[in-house]
């Protein structure tokens, strides 16, 4: 009864065959996937999406097939499926290859085009547009051996206070004014080649160690420059840099130790395996409370909250409800996208959203 016509464009060169063949379709990834949990449908699970990728690769579906296209956009790209995959499928890589091909021309979300154009400008020319608006955490000079603080293009615009706090917490960090965008958002939005070139260029602009307060940027940069050169801020502190954690003064609220929760950064946790470190730091800053499902995506997901606001809010909702139960003073984030998302979600609640670097600076 079924017929499975081969499309004319069954090219077999969309995906790296070795990456694609890693998946054995066991389905162990399904419970970890926020969009599968939302819909219960195979097509919106990592395994289902890989089945779609295979159909494209084998020519059973065209890359412009409506389901294929819709799923390439519905995926958050949080990579929660990777650490739970015993077969070691590199889903993030596959997703980048998928979007590189699928999001061409008119199939590219319009907002993604605008967003990437804006970021590219920031990155290419290296003008610190936002730096003119806010002087952020700039420094004029630093020794070549000093670790570089990456300012981050989203963070520079939305949360310049985070970089300032990071430099107060660790004055050894230098923040050269001329630094571009790391290209993470490009890589996740159908321009992986450009994204990688931008990361390499940033690597040249910031020689030596790069410290970043953005979990998402750290994973992308580490993939391109090597994990030894890139340190996310909480991992940097946990490794013994900056203030002695034992000397920090825990944050007080109403004369008692503050109750602190954490929202993990997906790529920091799932791609770099950094999740103990922010918890270790927070344990010195107040009474740490583990938020249920702290490791699952908040729905910010890079540009996702801008491109798909309704789905993004649906992913966020159960998280906000879970946090409301905990009576937290602060929900701590380690990534600017999560900052914006959680701040929107918790607006008007008794829980304030703050970056880990800000709390550390206050605890000095």
């Amino acid at each position: 009864m079924s017929d499975e016509p081969r499309t004319a464009a069954g090219t077999g060169d969309v995906f790296d065959p070795d990456l694609l063949s890693r998946c054995m379709s066991c389905g162990f990834c399904l419970p970890s996937c926020p969009t599968y949990r939302m819909t219960g449908e195979e097509a919106s699970s990592p395994r289902g999406r890989i089945t779609l990728m295979r159909a494209v690769q084998d020519g059973r579906l065209d890359v412009t097939d409506p389901t294929v296209l819709a799923q390439s956009q519905f995926c958050l790209g949080c990579r929660a499926c990777e650490p739970v995959c015993p077969a070691g499928v590199q889903y993030g890589e596959l997703l980048e290859e998928w979007r590189d091909t699928a999001w061409q021309g008119r199939n590219r979300p319009v907002l993604a085009k605008l967003l990437m154009l804006m970021m590219s400008r920031l990155g290419m020319v290296g003008i610190t547009l936002a730096g003119l608006v806010r002087r952020a955490a700039r420094t004029r000079r630093g020794t070549p051996a000093a670790p570089n603080l990456m300012l981050g293009c989203v963070e520079r615009v939305l949360y310049p206070k985070v970089s300032r706090a990071a430099r107060r917490a660790d004055p050894s960090l230098v923040a050269p004014a001329v630094q571009g965008c790391c290209g993470a958002l490009h890589a996740h939005n159908g321009e992986s080649g450009l994204g990688r070139r931008m990361a390499r260029r940033l690597g040249r602009q910031l020689p030596g160690t790069i410290v970043t307060t953005s979990g998402g940027c750290s994973a992308h940069l580490a993939a391109e420059l090597g994990a030894d050169r890139v340190q996310e801020f909480s991992a940097w502190l946990a490794a013994g840099h900056g203030p002695d954690l034992a000397d920090l003064t825990p944050i007080q609220v109403d004369g008692r130790r503050a109750r602190l929760g954490l929202q993990d950064s997906c790529h920091l946790r799932n791609a770099l395996g950094v999740w103990r470190e922010p918890r270790e730091v927070l344990a010195h800053l107040g009474d740490y409370v583990e938020v249920p499902d702290a490791g699952s995506c908040c729905g910010a997901a890079g540009s996702y909250s801008v491109l798909r606001p309704a789905d993004s809010r649906e992913v966020l909702a159960p998280k906000v409800a879970a946090i409301a139960e905990l009576d937290l003073d602060y929900l701590v984030v380690v990534n600017p996208g999560c900052y914006r998302q959680m701040a929107a979600g918790l607006r008007g609640s008794g829980t304030r959203v703050v970056h880990l670097a800000e709390l550390v600076a206050r605890a000095l």
Partner: protein
């Protein structure tokens, strides 16, 4: 087709019917390699009544229906080989009741095995069956395949814990078999017949399962041996010594290396085989039991024995064992696993035969399995594009099934027959029993709409090879 889709839509609502090519593609396969066929429509019913209406319609129009849970089965039981309707039951995902006083739970079929176990644990109870795929598999799917798991020897498998079922027959009647009673011999034991019927007799819409009080302590340990056969002999000795371990799993060197590569537990990847043993119950008894198992293993050739330091370490070991299969798939682009099972005293002999068959056909076969109950999972890992190797793997598995039957065993211990093993089923059952299965199938499903080409069929159906 238009009429079918319209009528399905009027039953479950447009939001729960899928017909787009991509939506069909993802339901064209399950966790079994080499089987692929798209359905014509995918339906997500939201109630028993909707399931009944869908089945009545399918019988009227003679449309095949394949019930599906999480699609984690390993025998192509949920691949719609004849097209038609894939009936996905994951919307029915409520835990209806967990009763401590009655030691039972009542759940809808789409509840995940893990969710049921967690709900039971919250009341100090244990849902015993724990198939390797429990994080994703559904209770309905577990019952339909009579899933096994890591506790088979001491506690049995899914069928030992199913008290009652609500089932929709292909002709639309809703029947309740069994119930809340441990003793109930009123009528044929349809509950047991439906358990393991692989979606060929009826669609399970509610399950009542037996629970046990959760054991106070669970501990595990690891012993290393020169090869699987040596580990198998040690298991015999353990059971001969009057010990019934709750867990008794083994992995050969190939599997240990793959698992270690994923889980980083510090396993000895040089050893020829690993035996993972464990027991549960009163803490002192568990400690004594583990000590005795360790002693017996040492006396029977173990090259090293270590006991897990704490609960977390035990959990890590068990979790690592559960992911043996997908971890093995790191070794090649195509992973074909089987499920041959022999009487436990023949385990060592079977392990040796598998090694010889792998060598003869020049294949990489990693073997892991449930040593306590004789259930082996020889797993062939190869390059999907090497057609000759794929052919050789089929020949090798044919011989492995033959060896299992020779030794008084079976072609599948817990994964099921599905489409993948139907061609071998008559070797296990013989013609008379095959004919009886067929008559039973007809009694339940006169129109032959439920999961055709699987159990109850003759086994000469054609399959469509697709992607791995």
């Amino acid at each position: 087709m238009a009429t079918l889709v319209e009528r399905l839509t009027s039953i479950v609502g447009a939001a729960h019917v899928r017909t787009a090519a991509g939506e069909l593609e993802v339901y064209a396969r399950d966790a079994t390699p080499l089987f692929h066929h798209r359905p014509d429509v995918v339906v997500f019913p939201g109630s028993t009544a909707e399931v009944a209406e869908v089945l009545r319609l399918a019988t009227e129009l003679r449309i095949p229906v394949v019930p599906r849970g999480a699609g984690s089965n390993l025998c192509a039981a949920t691949v719609p080989l004849a097209g038609g309707i894939v009936l996905v039951l994951t919307r029915l995902d409520e835990i209806l009741e967990v009763s401590g006083p009655e030691l039972l739970a009542r759940v809808q079929p789409g509840v995940s095995t893990q969710a049921l176990a967690t709900a039971a644990a919250a009341q100090g109870l244990l849902y015993v069956p724990d198939p390797g795929s429990k994080v994703v598999s559904t209770v309905g799917g577990n019952v339909a395949t009579c899933a096994g798991g890591l506790r088979g020897l001491k506690y049995g498998v899914t069928r030992n814990y199913v008290l009652g079922l609500e089932v929709v027959l292909p002709t639309g009647e809703v029947v309740r078999t069994g119930g809340r009673l441990w003793k109930d011999v009123a009528g044929y034991d349809l509950t047991r017949l439906l358990t393991g019927s692989e979606g060929t007799l009826g669609v399970i819409t509610e399950v009542t399962v037996a629970l046990l009080p959760a054991p106070a302590a669970t501990r595990t340990g690891v012993a290393y041996f020169a090869d699987l056969a040596a580990a198998g002999r040690a298991v015999d000795a353990v059971i001969g010594a009057g010990i019934t371990p709750a867990t008794c799993e083994f992995l050969d060197r190939t599997c240990v290396a793959a698992v270690e590569d994923y889980a980083h537990l510090g396993l000895d990847t040089e050893a020829g085989a690993l035996l993972l043993f464990g027991d549960d119950g009163d803490p002192e008894l568990v400690d004594r039991s583990l000590g005795r198992i360790a002693d017996v293993c040492t006396e029977h050739g173990a090259t090293g024995v270590t006991l897990a330091a704490d609960v977390a370490a035990s959990e890590d070991l068990l979790a690592a064992r559960r992911c043996s299969l997908p971890a093995l798939s790191r070794l090649g682009s195509l992973t074909i696993l089987e499920d041959a099972t022999v009487p436990r005293p023949r385990l060592a002999e079977m392990a040796d035969r598998i090694t010889a068959i792998a060598a003869k056909h020049e294949l990489t076969i990693g073997t892991f399995g449930h040593a306590g109950d004789g259930n082996l999972h020889p797993t062939c890992v190869l390059d999907a594009s090497d057609a000759a190797a794929v052919e050789r793997s089929h020949a090798a598995f044919g011989e492995i099934f033959g060896a299992a039957i020779d030794l008084g065993g079976t072609i599948t211990g817990e994964h099921g027959v599905g489409a993948a093993k139907l061609p071998y089923l008559s070797r296990r059952l013989g013609n008379d029993q095959m004919a009886l299965l067929s008559r039973i199938k007809t009694a339940f499903d006169p129109a032959g709409i439920l999961n055709p080409g699987k159990l109850g069929s003759t086994g000469d159906q054609t399959t469509e090879a697709g992607t791995a």
